[in-house]
Protein backbone atom coordinates (compact mmCIF):
# COMPACT_ATOMS: atom_id res chain seq x y z
CA UNK A 1 0.00 0.00 0.00
CA UNK A 2 1.12 3.49 -0.77
CA UNK A 3 1.84 5.44 2.41
CA UNK A 4 2.12 8.82 0.78
CA UNK A 5 -0.22 11.71 1.41
CA UNK A 6 -2.48 12.44 -1.56
CA UNK A 7 -4.22 15.65 -2.45
CA UNK A 8 -7.68 14.11 -2.06
CA UNK A 9 -6.80 13.26 1.54
CA UNK A 10 -7.07 16.91 2.56
CA UNK A 11 -10.82 17.05 3.23
CA UNK A 12 -11.02 13.77 5.19
CA UNK A 13 -7.94 14.76 7.14
CA UNK A 14 -9.42 18.10 8.15
CA UNK A 15 -12.61 16.32 9.23
CA UNK A 16 -10.75 13.73 11.24
CA UNK A 17 -8.51 16.26 12.95
CA UNK A 18 -11.49 18.46 13.80
CA UNK A 19 -13.28 15.44 15.24
CA UNK A 20 -10.30 14.42 17.34
CA UNK A 21 -9.89 17.99 18.56
CA UNK A 22 -13.55 18.33 19.56
CA UNK A 23 -13.40 14.95 21.28
CA UNK A 24 -10.51 15.83 23.54
CA UNK A 25 -10.59 19.62 23.90
CA UNK A 26 -13.31 19.89 26.60
CA UNK A 27 -11.64 17.25 28.76
CA UNK A 28 -8.25 18.79 28.19
CA UNK A 29 -9.58 22.18 29.24
CA UNK A 30 -10.68 20.86 32.62
CA UNK A 31 -7.37 18.99 32.98
CA UNK A 32 -5.49 22.26 32.44
CA UNK A 33 -7.48 23.85 35.24
CA UNK A 34 -5.97 21.28 37.59
CA UNK A 35 -2.68 23.19 37.33
CA UNK A 36 -4.17 26.60 38.04
CA UNK A 37 -4.69 28.42 41.32
CA UNK A 38 -8.32 29.43 41.97
CA UNK A 39 -7.73 32.99 40.77
CA UNK A 40 -6.55 31.73 37.37
CA UNK A 41 -9.46 29.30 37.05
CA UNK A 42 -12.05 32.06 37.38
CA UNK A 43 -10.05 34.63 35.38
CA UNK A 44 -11.69 36.17 32.33
CA UNK A 45 -10.08 36.26 29.78
CA UNK A 46 -8.90 32.75 30.62
CA UNK A 47 -5.33 31.77 31.35
CA UNK A 48 -4.61 29.42 28.44
CA UNK A 49 -1.44 27.69 29.48
CA UNK A 50 -0.96 27.16 33.22
CA UNK A 51 2.30 26.75 35.06
CA UNK A 52 2.59 22.97 35.16
CA UNK A 53 4.80 23.06 38.22
CA UNK A 54 1.84 24.28 40.28
CA UNK A 55 0.70 21.07 41.95
CA UNK A 56 -1.06 22.41 45.01
CA UNK A 57 -4.49 21.24 43.79
CA UNK A 58 -3.29 17.68 43.45
CA UNK A 59 -1.61 17.86 46.83
CA UNK A 60 -4.83 19.14 48.43
CA UNK A 61 -7.02 16.51 46.82
CA UNK A 62 -4.65 13.65 47.57
CA UNK A 63 -4.06 14.58 51.19
CA UNK A 64 -7.72 15.19 51.97
CA UNK A 65 -9.39 12.51 49.91
CA UNK A 66 -6.91 9.67 49.43
CA UNK A 67 -8.97 7.23 51.54
CA UNK A 68 -11.74 7.50 48.96
CA UNK A 69 -9.36 6.85 46.09
CA UNK A 70 -8.27 3.74 47.99
CA UNK A 71 -11.96 2.80 48.42
CA UNK A 72 -12.50 3.11 44.69
CA UNK A 73 -9.45 0.99 43.96
CA UNK A 74 -10.34 -1.72 46.45
CA UNK A 75 -13.99 -1.95 45.36
CA UNK A 76 -13.02 -1.96 41.69
CA UNK A 77 -10.23 -4.51 41.99
CA UNK A 78 -12.32 -6.73 44.25
CA UNK A 79 -15.23 -6.62 41.81
CA UNK A 80 -12.96 -7.37 38.87
CA UNK A 81 -11.48 -10.41 40.58
CA UNK A 82 -14.85 -11.71 41.77
CA UNK A 83 -16.48 -11.18 38.37
CA UNK A 84 -13.71 -13.07 36.59
CA UNK A 85 -13.65 -15.94 39.07
CA UNK A 86 -17.35 -16.43 38.42
CA UNK A 87 -17.43 -15.59 34.73
CA UNK A 88 -14.55 -17.62 33.34
CA UNK A 89 -15.79 -21.10 34.37
CA UNK A 90 -19.31 -20.16 33.33
CA UNK A 91 -18.19 -18.94 29.93
CA UNK A 92 -16.06 -22.05 29.49
CA UNK A 93 -18.96 -24.33 30.32
CA UNK A 94 -21.37 -22.44 28.08
CA UNK A 95 -18.98 -22.75 25.16
CA UNK A 96 -17.87 -26.36 25.63
CA UNK A 97 -20.69 -28.18 27.32
CA UNK A 98 -23.73 -29.20 25.32
CA UNK A 99 -26.92 -29.34 27.30
CA UNK A 100 -30.53 -28.56 26.72
CA UNK A 101 -31.36 -24.90 27.28
CA UNK A 102 -27.75 -23.80 26.81
CA UNK A 103 -28.60 -21.06 24.36
CA UNK A 104 -31.52 -19.92 26.45
CA UNK A 105 -29.27 -19.72 29.50
CA UNK A 106 -26.65 -17.70 27.62
CA UNK A 107 -29.38 -15.38 26.36
CA UNK A 108 -30.76 -14.95 29.84
CA UNK A 109 -27.31 -14.03 31.15
CA UNK A 110 -26.97 -11.53 28.32
CA UNK A 111 -30.39 -10.05 28.99
CA UNK A 112 -29.47 -9.36 32.61
CA UNK A 113 -26.76 -7.04 31.26
CA UNK A 114 -29.51 -4.92 29.76
CA UNK A 115 -31.29 -4.44 33.06
CA UNK A 116 -31.10 -0.82 34.17
CA UNK A 117 -29.42 -0.64 37.61
CA UNK A 118 -32.17 1.65 38.89
CA UNK A 119 -34.62 -1.26 38.57
CA UNK A 120 -32.60 -3.20 41.15
CA UNK A 121 -31.77 -0.19 43.29
CA UNK A 122 -34.35 -0.36 46.06
CA UNK A 123 -34.30 -4.16 46.48
CA UNK A 124 -30.50 -4.04 46.55
CA UNK A 125 -30.60 -1.27 49.12
CA UNK A 126 -33.01 -3.27 51.27
CA UNK A 127 -30.96 -6.50 51.17
CA UNK A 128 -27.76 -4.62 51.81
CA UNK A 129 -29.31 -2.82 54.74
CA UNK A 130 -30.47 -6.15 56.17
CA UNK A 131 -27.10 -7.79 55.62
CA UNK A 132 -25.09 -4.86 57.00
CA UNK A 133 -23.53 -4.26 53.59
CA UNK A 134 -24.56 -0.62 53.28
CA UNK A 135 -21.59 1.71 53.28
CA UNK A 136 -19.20 -1.23 53.07
CA UNK A 137 -16.64 -2.04 50.41
CA UNK A 138 -17.83 -5.66 50.43
CA UNK A 139 -21.23 -4.45 49.37
CA UNK A 140 -19.76 -2.48 46.49
CA UNK A 141 -17.61 -5.43 45.43
CA UNK A 142 -20.69 -7.65 45.31
CA UNK A 143 -22.83 -5.11 43.48
CA UNK A 144 -20.17 -4.19 40.91
CA UNK A 145 -19.20 -7.80 40.29
CA UNK A 146 -22.86 -8.70 39.81
CA UNK A 147 -23.68 -5.91 37.42
CA UNK A 148 -20.59 -6.64 35.32
CA UNK A 149 -20.94 -10.40 35.41
CA UNK A 150 -23.13 -10.74 32.29
CA UNK A 151 -20.71 -8.63 30.30
CA UNK A 152 -17.75 -10.62 31.59
CA UNK A 153 -19.39 -13.94 30.73
CA UNK A 154 -20.24 -12.88 27.20
CA UNK A 155 -16.95 -11.30 26.34
CA UNK A 156 -15.06 -14.25 27.84
CA UNK A 157 -17.18 -16.62 25.75
CA UNK A 158 -16.09 -14.80 22.61
CA UNK A 159 -12.44 -15.39 23.52
CA UNK A 160 -12.86 -18.99 24.66
CA UNK A 161 -14.57 -19.80 21.37
CA UNK A 162 -11.30 -19.02 19.63
CA UNK A 163 -9.49 -21.84 21.43
CA UNK A 164 -9.34 -24.68 18.88
CA UNK A 165 -11.90 -27.36 19.74
CA UNK A 166 -9.39 -30.08 18.79
CA UNK A 167 -7.10 -29.09 21.65
CA UNK A 168 -9.91 -29.35 24.17
CA UNK A 169 -11.04 -32.65 22.72
CA UNK A 170 -7.51 -34.03 22.80
CA UNK A 171 -7.08 -33.02 26.43
CA UNK A 172 -10.39 -34.70 27.30
CA UNK A 173 -9.33 -37.91 25.54
CA UNK A 174 -6.09 -37.83 27.53
CA UNK A 175 -8.33 -38.05 30.58
CA UNK A 176 -8.19 -34.46 31.81
CA UNK A 177 -11.09 -33.29 33.95
CA UNK A 178 -12.94 -30.21 32.77
CA UNK A 179 -11.25 -28.20 35.45
CA UNK A 180 -7.84 -29.30 34.13
CA UNK A 181 -8.87 -28.47 30.59
CA UNK A 182 -9.87 -25.01 31.71
CA UNK A 183 -6.77 -24.46 33.80
CA UNK A 184 -4.12 -26.00 31.54
CA UNK A 185 -5.48 -25.57 28.02
CA UNK A 186 -7.98 -22.75 27.81
CA UNK A 187 -6.60 -20.23 30.29
CA UNK A 188 -3.05 -20.10 28.89
CA UNK A 189 -4.43 -19.71 25.38
CA UNK A 190 -6.88 -16.92 26.18
CA UNK A 191 -4.71 -14.93 28.55
CA UNK A 192 -4.68 -11.72 26.53
CA UNK A 193 -8.42 -11.92 25.95
CA UNK A 194 -9.07 -12.37 29.65
CA UNK A 195 -6.82 -9.41 30.36
CA UNK A 196 -9.07 -7.36 28.09
CA UNK A 197 -12.19 -8.60 29.90
CA UNK A 198 -10.64 -7.75 33.26
CA UNK A 199 -9.69 -4.31 32.02
CA UNK A 200 -13.20 -3.57 30.86
CA UNK A 201 -14.79 -4.73 34.09
CA UNK A 202 -12.25 -2.60 35.93
CA UNK A 203 -13.12 0.50 33.92
CA UNK A 204 -16.88 -0.02 34.19
CA UNK A 205 -16.66 -0.48 37.94
CA UNK A 206 -14.21 2.39 38.34
CA UNK A 207 -16.51 4.72 36.40
CA UNK A 208 -19.67 3.70 38.27
CA UNK A 209 -21.45 6.43 40.17
CA UNK A 210 -25.16 5.90 40.86
CA UNK A 211 -24.94 2.68 42.87
CA UNK A 212 -22.15 4.08 45.00
CA UNK A 213 -24.24 7.17 45.58
CA UNK A 214 -26.95 5.34 47.52
CA UNK A 215 -25.00 2.29 48.74
CA UNK A 216 -22.33 4.32 50.52
CA UNK A 217 -22.62 7.20 52.96
CA UNK A 218 -19.34 7.85 54.79
CA UNK A 219 -16.77 5.11 55.21
CA UNK A 220 -17.01 3.37 51.85
CA UNK A 221 -17.68 6.39 49.63
CA UNK A 222 -15.98 6.01 46.27
CA UNK A 223 -14.01 8.76 44.61
CA UNK A 224 -16.75 9.73 42.10
CA UNK A 225 -19.21 10.22 44.96
CA UNK A 226 -16.73 12.52 46.68
CA UNK A 227 -16.11 14.43 43.45
CA UNK A 228 -19.84 14.96 42.99
CA UNK A 229 -19.95 16.61 46.40
CA UNK A 230 -17.52 19.33 45.25
CA UNK A 231 -20.50 20.92 43.53
CA UNK A 232 -22.51 22.02 46.50
CA UNK A 233 -25.20 24.58 46.97
CA UNK A 234 -22.59 27.13 47.96
CA UNK A 235 -19.16 27.48 46.44
CA UNK A 236 -18.07 25.17 43.62
CA UNK A 237 -14.56 23.84 44.22
CA UNK A 238 -13.30 23.95 40.65
CA UNK A 239 -9.67 23.49 41.63
CA UNK A 240 -10.56 20.27 43.46
CA UNK A 241 -12.87 19.13 40.69
CA UNK A 242 -10.16 19.62 38.09
CA UNK A 243 -7.40 17.84 39.98
CA UNK A 244 -9.73 15.03 41.06
CA UNK A 245 -10.94 14.62 37.48
CA UNK A 246 -7.40 14.08 36.27
CA UNK A 247 -6.88 11.38 38.90
CA UNK A 248 -10.27 9.79 38.24
CA UNK A 249 -9.82 9.71 34.46
CA UNK A 250 -6.25 8.47 34.50
CA UNK A 251 -7.01 4.71 34.58
CA UNK A 252 -9.67 4.70 31.86
CA UNK A 253 -7.62 6.94 29.58
CA UNK A 254 -4.46 4.87 30.02
CA UNK A 255 -6.39 1.68 29.41
CA UNK A 256 -7.87 3.18 26.25
CA UNK A 257 -4.38 3.47 24.86
CA UNK A 258 -3.34 -0.03 25.85
CA UNK A 259 -6.59 -1.75 24.99
CA UNK A 260 -7.20 0.02 21.70
CA UNK A 261 -7.59 -3.11 19.65
CA UNK A 262 -10.03 -4.73 22.06
CA UNK A 263 -12.33 -1.75 22.47
CA UNK A 264 -14.74 -2.53 19.65
CA UNK A 265 -15.22 -6.04 20.91
CA UNK A 266 -15.45 -4.71 24.46
CA UNK A 267 -18.19 -2.19 23.83
CA UNK A 268 -20.27 -4.74 21.92
CA UNK A 269 -19.84 -7.49 24.52
CA UNK A 270 -17.69 -9.52 22.17
CA UNK A 271 -20.27 -9.54 19.38
CA UNK A 272 -17.93 -7.74 17.01
CA UNK A 273 -14.45 -9.19 16.62
CA UNK A 274 -11.45 -6.94 16.77
Amino acid sequence: MNNAFRLRDVVPLVLVLAFVFISIAPLLWLMLAAFKPTAEIIAVPPVWIPDFTYLQNFRDVLTQFWPFIVNSLVATLGATILALILAVPTAFALVNHRFRGREALADWILSTRMMPPIAAAVPLFVIFRGAGLLDSLWGLVIAYAGFNLPFAVWMTMSFIRRVPKELIEAARLEGCTWWQVLKDVVLPLSKSGLAAVATFVFIFAWNEFMLALFLTTREAKTFPVVISSFVGTGRVYWEYIAAASVIQCLPPVLFTFFMQKHIVSGVTMGAVKD
Partner: protein, 310 residues
Amino acid sequence: MAHAVSTTRAPHEASRRSFLQGDRFQMTAFIAPTCIFLALLTIWPFVYSVYLSVHSVKLTALHRAVFVGFDNYINLLSDSLFLRAMLNTGLLAVTSITFEIVIAFVIAKAFVSLSHLKWVNGLRSLFMIPMMATPLIVGMVFSYVFNPVLGIANYLLSGIGAGPVAWFGDTTAAMISILLINIWQWTPFMMLLIMAGLLSIRSDLYEAARVDGAKWHHVLRFLEIPSIRGIVLLGIILRIIDTLRFFDVVYVTTRGGPGDSTMVLTLYAYQQNFQFFQAGVGSAAAVIILVISIVITTFAVKLLRRIEDE
Protein backbone atom coordinates in the same frame (compact mmCIF):
# COMPACT_ATOMS: atom_id res chain seq x y z
CA MET B 1 -26.01 -31.13 18.77
CA ALA B 2 -24.78 -33.99 20.91
CA HIS B 3 -28.11 -35.58 21.73
CA ALA B 4 -28.82 -35.99 18.04
CA VAL B 5 -25.82 -38.30 17.60
CA SER B 6 -26.98 -41.90 17.42
CA THR B 7 -25.03 -44.57 19.30
CA THR B 8 -24.84 -46.76 16.21
CA ARG B 9 -22.47 -44.30 14.56
CA ALA B 10 -18.72 -44.77 14.20
CA PRO B 11 -16.61 -45.14 17.36
CA HIS B 12 -15.23 -41.67 16.89
CA GLU B 13 -18.74 -40.26 17.09
CA ALA B 14 -19.38 -42.19 20.28
CA SER B 15 -16.28 -40.82 21.96
CA ARG B 16 -17.24 -37.37 20.81
CA ARG B 17 -20.55 -37.83 22.50
CA SER B 18 -19.05 -38.78 25.84
CA PHE B 19 -16.67 -35.86 25.46
CA LEU B 20 -19.58 -33.53 25.10
CA GLN B 21 -21.78 -34.93 27.83
CA GLY B 22 -19.29 -36.01 30.47
CA ASP B 23 -18.80 -34.62 33.93
CA ARG B 24 -22.15 -32.97 34.24
CA PHE B 25 -21.36 -32.28 37.86
CA GLN B 26 -18.27 -30.19 37.12
CA MET B 27 -20.04 -28.19 34.48
CA THR B 28 -22.91 -27.47 36.83
CA ALA B 29 -20.41 -26.26 39.37
CA PHE B 30 -19.00 -23.93 36.71
CA ILE B 31 -22.34 -22.43 35.84
CA ALA B 32 -24.45 -22.50 38.99
CA PRO B 33 -22.73 -19.77 41.05
CA THR B 34 -23.07 -17.24 38.25
CA CYS B 35 -26.72 -18.10 37.74
CA ILE B 36 -27.56 -17.88 41.42
CA PHE B 37 -25.76 -14.56 41.71
CA LEU B 38 -27.53 -13.12 38.68
CA ALA B 39 -30.92 -14.40 39.79
CA LEU B 40 -30.44 -12.69 43.15
CA LEU B 41 -29.51 -9.52 41.33
CA THR B 42 -32.28 -9.56 38.74
CA ILE B 43 -35.20 -11.88 39.42
CA TRP B 44 -35.54 -11.19 43.11
CA PRO B 45 -35.30 -7.40 42.72
CA PHE B 46 -37.90 -7.57 39.99
CA VAL B 47 -40.35 -9.48 42.18
CA TYR B 48 -39.69 -7.18 45.10
CA SER B 49 -40.03 -4.03 42.98
CA VAL B 50 -43.37 -5.22 41.66
CA TYR B 51 -44.48 -5.89 45.24
CA LEU B 52 -43.43 -2.42 46.38
CA SER B 53 -44.97 -0.76 43.34
CA VAL B 54 -48.49 -1.80 44.38
CA HIS B 55 -48.03 -0.51 47.92
CA SER B 56 -47.95 2.88 49.51
CA VAL B 57 -44.65 2.63 51.33
CA LYS B 58 -41.72 4.71 52.55
CA LEU B 59 -38.16 3.49 52.12
CA THR B 60 -37.62 4.43 55.75
CA ALA B 61 -40.59 2.35 57.00
CA LEU B 62 -40.92 -0.69 54.76
CA HIS B 63 -42.88 -2.70 57.33
CA ARG B 64 -45.75 -0.22 57.10
CA ALA B 65 -46.69 -0.99 53.53
CA VAL B 66 -50.32 -0.46 52.58
CA PHE B 67 -51.67 -2.22 49.51
CA VAL B 68 -52.98 0.34 47.02
CA GLY B 69 -53.34 -1.66 43.82
CA PHE B 70 -52.36 0.25 40.71
CA ASP B 71 -52.62 3.67 42.32
CA ASN B 72 -48.89 4.32 42.04
CA TYR B 73 -48.94 3.60 38.33
CA ILE B 74 -52.02 5.75 37.81
CA ASN B 75 -50.42 8.57 39.78
CA LEU B 76 -47.24 8.27 37.76
CA LEU B 77 -49.08 8.52 34.47
CA SER B 78 -50.81 11.67 35.67
CA ASP B 79 -47.62 13.17 37.14
CA SER B 80 -46.38 15.75 34.67
CA LEU B 81 -42.81 15.37 35.96
CA PHE B 82 -42.81 11.65 35.16
CA LEU B 83 -44.34 12.23 31.76
CA ARG B 84 -41.70 14.86 31.15
CA ALA B 85 -39.03 12.33 32.11
CA MET B 86 -40.50 9.81 29.66
CA LEU B 87 -40.67 12.40 26.91
CA ASN B 88 -37.13 13.65 27.53
CA THR B 89 -35.68 10.16 27.63
CA GLY B 90 -37.39 9.28 24.37
CA LEU B 91 -36.37 12.57 22.81
CA LEU B 92 -32.76 12.10 23.89
CA ALA B 93 -32.68 8.57 22.53
CA VAL B 94 -34.11 9.50 19.15
CA THR B 95 -32.26 12.75 18.50
CA SER B 96 -28.89 11.91 19.98
CA ILE B 97 -28.71 8.51 18.30
CA THR B 98 -29.71 10.00 14.94
CA PHE B 99 -27.03 12.68 15.13
CA GLU B 100 -24.49 10.17 16.38
CA ILE B 101 -25.07 7.85 13.43
CA VAL B 102 -24.88 10.61 10.82
CA ILE B 103 -21.76 12.26 12.25
CA ALA B 104 -20.17 8.91 12.97
CA PHE B 105 -20.74 7.71 9.43
CA VAL B 106 -19.12 10.79 7.89
CA ILE B 107 -16.10 10.65 10.18
CA ALA B 108 -15.79 6.89 9.78
CA LYS B 109 -15.69 7.30 6.00
CA ALA B 110 -13.02 9.95 6.39
CA PHE B 111 -11.02 7.68 8.67
CA VAL B 112 -11.31 4.69 6.37
CA SER B 113 -10.22 6.74 3.37
CA LEU B 114 -7.10 7.75 5.30
CA SER B 115 -6.22 4.20 6.33
CA HIS B 116 -3.05 4.31 4.22
CA LEU B 117 -1.65 6.96 6.58
CA LYS B 118 -0.36 5.06 9.58
CA TRP B 119 -0.21 8.00 11.98
CA VAL B 120 -3.90 8.77 11.44
CA ASN B 121 -4.77 5.38 12.87
CA GLY B 122 -2.81 6.34 15.94
CA LEU B 123 -5.44 9.01 16.59
CA ARG B 124 -8.04 6.34 17.25
CA SER B 125 -7.33 6.06 20.94
CA LEU B 126 -7.63 9.83 21.27
CA PHE B 127 -11.19 10.07 20.00
CA MET B 128 -12.25 7.07 22.10
CA ILE B 129 -11.52 8.99 25.28
CA PRO B 130 -14.99 10.59 25.67
CA MET B 131 -16.74 7.24 25.86
CA MET B 132 -14.18 5.67 28.18
CA ALA B 133 -13.85 8.63 30.57
CA THR B 134 -15.88 8.51 33.78
CA PRO B 135 -19.39 9.78 32.86
CA LEU B 136 -19.56 11.80 36.06
CA ILE B 137 -16.39 13.63 34.98
CA VAL B 138 -17.94 14.25 31.57
CA GLY B 139 -20.72 16.05 33.42
CA MET B 140 -18.14 18.04 35.38
CA VAL B 141 -16.25 18.95 32.23
CA PHE B 142 -19.33 20.48 30.68
CA SER B 143 -20.44 22.20 33.88
CA TYR B 144 -17.08 23.92 33.62
CA VAL B 145 -17.04 24.57 29.88
CA PHE B 146 -20.66 25.77 29.81
CA ASN B 147 -20.43 27.73 33.07
CA PRO B 148 -22.21 31.09 32.65
CA VAL B 149 -19.46 33.09 34.40
CA LEU B 150 -16.12 31.39 33.85
CA GLY B 151 -17.03 29.02 31.02
CA ILE B 152 -14.80 28.90 28.00
CA ALA B 153 -17.74 28.27 25.63
CA ASN B 154 -19.31 31.67 26.17
CA TYR B 155 -15.90 33.35 26.15
CA LEU B 156 -15.12 31.90 22.72
CA LEU B 157 -18.58 32.83 21.46
CA SER B 158 -18.12 36.40 22.64
CA GLY B 159 -14.89 36.48 20.62
CA ILE B 160 -16.94 36.09 17.44
CA GLY B 161 -19.57 38.49 18.67
CA ALA B 162 -22.11 35.82 19.63
CA GLY B 163 -23.76 34.79 22.87
CA PRO B 164 -23.81 34.66 25.74
CA VAL B 165 -25.72 31.38 25.69
CA ALA B 166 -27.55 30.26 28.84
CA TRP B 167 -26.34 26.66 28.42
CA PHE B 168 -27.97 25.12 31.46
CA GLY B 169 -29.85 28.26 32.43
CA ASP B 170 -33.04 28.13 30.39
CA THR B 171 -35.37 25.26 29.70
CA THR B 172 -34.82 24.78 25.97
CA ALA B 173 -31.09 25.48 26.06
CA ALA B 174 -30.57 23.05 28.93
CA MET B 175 -32.12 20.17 27.03
CA ILE B 176 -30.06 21.02 23.95
CA SER B 177 -26.91 21.17 26.06
CA ILE B 178 -27.64 17.73 27.53
CA LEU B 179 -28.23 16.48 24.01
CA LEU B 180 -24.91 17.95 22.82
CA ILE B 181 -23.07 16.28 25.69
CA ASN B 182 -24.65 12.96 24.78
CA ILE B 183 -23.65 13.31 21.17
CA TRP B 184 -20.15 14.35 22.13
CA GLN B 185 -19.78 11.41 24.47
CA TRP B 186 -21.20 8.66 22.28
CA THR B 187 -20.43 9.54 18.66
CA PRO B 188 -17.03 7.82 19.06
CA PHE B 189 -18.82 4.63 20.07
CA MET B 190 -21.03 4.68 17.01
CA MET B 191 -18.04 5.52 14.90
CA LEU B 192 -16.06 2.52 16.08
CA LEU B 193 -18.95 0.27 15.15
CA ILE B 194 -19.48 1.85 11.75
CA MET B 195 -15.76 1.73 11.05
CA ALA B 196 -15.67 -1.95 11.91
CA GLY B 197 -18.56 -2.44 9.49
CA LEU B 198 -16.99 -0.41 6.68
CA LEU B 199 -13.61 -2.10 7.05
CA SER B 200 -15.28 -5.49 6.66
CA ILE B 201 -16.38 -4.58 3.10
CA ARG B 202 -14.00 -6.24 0.65
CA SER B 203 -12.17 -3.70 -1.49
CA ASP B 204 -12.90 -5.62 -4.69
CA LEU B 205 -16.59 -4.83 -4.16
CA TYR B 206 -15.76 -1.12 -4.24
CA GLU B 207 -13.63 -1.81 -7.27
CA ALA B 208 -16.47 -3.62 -8.99
CA ALA B 209 -18.87 -0.78 -8.21
CA ARG B 210 -16.42 1.70 -9.68
CA VAL B 211 -15.97 -0.36 -12.82
CA ASP B 212 -19.75 -0.56 -13.20
CA GLY B 213 -19.87 3.23 -13.04
CA ALA B 214 -21.79 3.40 -9.73
CA LYS B 215 -22.30 6.87 -8.24
CA TRP B 216 -21.40 7.49 -4.61
CA HIS B 217 -25.05 7.28 -3.56
CA HIS B 218 -25.35 3.91 -5.27
CA VAL B 219 -22.35 2.66 -3.33
CA LEU B 220 -23.87 4.05 -0.17
CA ARG B 221 -27.27 2.51 -0.76
CA PHE B 222 -26.43 -0.87 -2.21
CA LEU B 223 -23.06 -1.66 -0.67
CA GLU B 224 -22.30 0.35 2.45
CA ILE B 225 -25.66 0.58 4.18
CA PRO B 226 -26.44 -3.13 3.78
CA SER B 227 -22.97 -3.99 5.09
CA ILE B 228 -23.20 -1.92 8.26
CA ARG B 229 -26.92 -2.35 8.97
CA GLY B 230 -26.57 -5.15 11.51
CA ILE B 231 -23.82 -3.51 13.47
CA VAL B 232 -25.55 -0.12 13.50
CA LEU B 233 -28.75 -1.73 14.76
CA LEU B 234 -26.74 -3.26 17.54
CA GLY B 235 -25.29 0.17 18.29
CA ILE B 236 -28.77 1.70 18.37
CA ILE B 237 -30.06 -0.88 20.82
CA LEU B 238 -27.07 -0.56 23.13
CA ARG B 239 -27.46 3.22 23.04
CA ILE B 240 -31.19 3.05 23.85
CA ILE B 241 -30.34 0.87 26.84
CA ASP B 242 -27.72 3.46 27.85
CA THR B 243 -30.22 6.29 27.54
CA LEU B 244 -32.67 4.49 29.81
CA ARG B 245 -30.00 4.43 32.52
CA PHE B 246 -28.73 7.93 31.74
CA PHE B 247 -28.06 9.53 35.11
CA ASP B 248 -24.56 10.73 35.97
CA VAL B 249 -24.35 13.68 33.58
CA VAL B 250 -27.76 15.18 34.43
CA TYR B 251 -27.13 14.56 38.11
CA VAL B 252 -24.11 16.91 38.15
CA THR B 253 -25.09 19.40 35.49
CA THR B 254 -28.80 20.23 35.80
CA ARG B 255 -30.36 17.77 38.30
CA GLY B 256 -33.31 17.66 35.97
CA GLY B 257 -33.77 21.42 35.90
CA PRO B 258 -34.37 24.25 35.28
CA GLY B 259 -37.91 23.35 36.32
CA ASP B 260 -38.51 19.88 34.95
CA SER B 261 -36.86 20.58 31.60
CA THR B 262 -34.10 17.95 31.71
CA MET B 263 -35.70 15.33 33.95
CA VAL B 264 -34.98 11.80 32.74
CA LEU B 265 -36.39 8.44 33.85
CA THR B 266 -33.55 7.09 35.97
CA LEU B 267 -33.09 10.41 37.76
CA TYR B 268 -36.84 10.52 38.45
CA ALA B 269 -36.88 7.05 39.95
CA TYR B 270 -33.71 7.77 41.90
CA GLN B 271 -35.17 10.92 43.44
CA GLN B 272 -38.49 9.29 44.33
CA ASN B 273 -36.71 6.40 46.04
CA PHE B 274 -33.69 7.96 47.68
CA GLN B 275 -34.55 11.62 48.16
CA PHE B 276 -38.28 11.52 48.89
CA PHE B 277 -38.18 7.89 50.13
CA GLN B 278 -41.35 7.15 48.14
CA ALA B 279 -40.45 3.52 47.56
CA GLY B 280 -43.89 2.72 46.16
CA VAL B 281 -43.94 5.38 43.44
CA GLY B 282 -40.21 4.99 42.83
CA SER B 283 -40.57 1.25 42.38
CA ALA B 284 -43.48 1.71 40.01
CA ALA B 285 -41.26 4.00 37.92
CA ALA B 286 -38.45 1.45 38.10
CA VAL B 287 -40.81 -1.30 36.94
CA ILE B 288 -41.87 0.82 33.97
CA ILE B 289 -38.22 1.46 33.05
CA LEU B 290 -37.55 -2.25 33.41
CA VAL B 291 -40.45 -3.24 31.18
CA ILE B 292 -39.25 -0.88 28.45
CA SER B 293 -35.77 -2.38 28.78
CA ILE B 294 -37.11 -5.92 28.59
CA VAL B 295 -38.93 -5.18 25.36
CA ILE B 296 -35.79 -3.68 23.83
CA THR B 297 -33.60 -6.41 25.26
CA THR B 298 -35.62 -9.11 23.57
CA PHE B 299 -34.63 -7.60 20.25
CA ALA B 300 -31.08 -7.00 21.40
CA VAL B 301 -30.46 -10.61 22.38
CA LYS B 302 -31.73 -11.95 19.08
CA LEU B 303 -29.64 -9.44 17.19
CA LEU B 304 -26.43 -10.12 19.11
CA ARG B 305 -26.89 -13.83 18.47
CA ARG B 306 -27.33 -13.20 14.77
CA ILE B 307 -24.25 -10.99 14.49
CA GLU B 308 -22.29 -13.52 16.53
CA ASP B 309 -23.29 -16.30 14.15
CA GLU B 310 -22.32 -14.36 11.04
